[in-house]
């Protein structure tokens, strides 16, 4: 579990995030959503320790990460896996070497054992037989999956995904979402996802934190989001007419107005 307590971060006296608190539980996908510039990436970077917050604290399993120094911080970081927006694969290393890198750095396993683990995680992300390929030879979706494999290779307790669906087609986005969800449940990981993708919000958002201009505007689940009366949230989530219609449909579904199959007559009344 990750607890975010009253985090504030500013750059050159401009406050980017202000007094944000949240509790992100293990075994579920915790989503941070918000418009561009709302501070969600800064919040995530504070959470993983890439930025030091001005004040407030981040607790990993009850341990205050922000107050830690040196070796203690490194120990927590070893339990963190992160999937970056641009994948952040090492260009000069092939897929196998990329995934093996954390294993080589932090374990004294034999090459055979490391290779077995690499193949295991590659199979887990449905990417067998790409060991010898370099990042430049992979498609966007494949890069994301390799990066996901690298993020989980050390069996992390915490998984951070920064816009995992950016630049991907809808079908590949679904595959990535499904993978993240499955891995989260399978390994009981606390997963934190930064996303703009409304499909992800509705499909995998066990907990959703909506950021607006650096503040926490709303929090809840993907079930609650449909019924939310928060105007800013509704304007953000259901921005298009199509999504508004989809929301109405889902609301009717939730209220049991549509039984087994979607009853268009009922909707038209």
């Amino acid at each position: 579990m990750i607890e975010v307590k009253n985090i504030q971060k500013s750059f050159d006296s401009k406050i980017i995030i202000q007094d944000v608190s949240a509790v992100m539980k293990a075994g579920q996908c915790n989503l941070i959503i918000g418009a561009s510039g709302s501070g969600k990436t800064v919040l995530m970077k504070c959470m993983v320790g890439l930025f030091d917050p001005d004040h407030g604290s981040i607790l990993y399993g009850g341990h205050d990460f922000t107050a830690m120094e040196g070796r203690d911080k490194t120990e927590i970081r070893k339990e963190i896996g992160m999937l970056f927006q641009g994948s952040a694969l090492f260009d000069s290393l092939n897929v196998e070497q990329n995934i093996m890198f954390p294993l080589s750095m932090f374990t004294d396993w034999t090459y055979k054992k490391k290779l077995d683990r690499v193949n295991e995680v590659l199979n887990r992300v449905n990417l067998p037989d790409v060991n010898r390929k370099f990042p430049a030879e992979l498609s966007g979706g494949m890069k994301k999956r390799v990066a996901l494999a690298r993020a989980i290779v050390l069996n992390p307790k915490y998984l951070f995904c920064d816009e995992p669906n950016s630049g991907l087609d809808p079908q590949t986005s679904l595959v990535i979402d499904k993978l993240i969800k499955e891995i989260t449940v399978e390994y009981n990981i606390t997963t934190v996802i930064n996303t703009h993708d409304m499909n992800s919000v509705m499909e995998i958002g066990n907990y959703i934190l909506y950021m607006y201009k650096g503040n926490k505007e709303w929090e809840g689940t993907n079930q609650e989001i449909i019924f939310s009366k928060n105007q800013r949230l509704n304007d953000f989530i259901f921005a298009s007419e199509f999504l508004q219609d989809a929301k109405d449909m889902r609301m009717l579904e939730q209220k049991g107005k549509i039984a087994d199959d979607r009853n268009m007559d009922e909707l038209l009344k």
């Binding site: 490194t74 970081r77 080589s104 951070f160």
Partner: protein, 247 residues
Amino acid sequence: MTIFSDIGRYLLMIKGMFARPENGKMYWKELIHQCTEIGFGSLGIVAIISVFIGAVSTIQTAYQLVSPLIPPSTIAQIVRDTVVLEFAPTLVCIVLAGVAGSRIASELGNMRVSEQIDALEIMGIKTKTYLVLPKVIAALIMIPLLVVIAMALGIWGGRLAGVASGIIDGYTYDRGLKEFFDPYTIKFALTKSYVFAFIISSVPAFYGYFVKGGALEIGRASTKAVVVSCILILLFDYILSALLLPT
């Protein structure tokens, strides 16, 4: 103010380099990789430049020594001392600032922009130690070696040009090389090469490591790294000459 903040950040980066490695084997692998990149990657250009510098030195020295009272072996002495004292360490290091320095700056800049450095940080790796220290150590090992090779090739290039153009015969040239030879010049040149090696590796690493933005900024950082390295090389060339050469 920027210059002071840059110097401060540079010194903090140097301090941050010295931390306990997470895994000695991985660091050793990286060091060998960097030695190959900096050493063998620059060998060709260093060899070509050195031979031509020696050759040009011989021809230009002969052109200026018109007095019949000066023995031809003096040409070899002058070529030897110019190559050893100045051309091999300084000129070669300026070229290396362009070749190796820009590579270091753009490699780290690209890693920063594409979040590879962040990925390493999150894994719990001390990025300054893992990314910068092996480059600095590799430069400190390989650049003095390249300078020694440049000295030998420069002197040989001078002989080649001298003999080929009929300015001096091989025997006289070889005799001239041994006359009034002061081994301190080699020590001085190596001292310079160590200082320059540190500049060539650490300054571009600083500009690459802290780059912000995209491809354009990587290019700018790379250019700035080379320019600043060259200026620092010339500045320290003067300081070291003033301090270490008995006049």
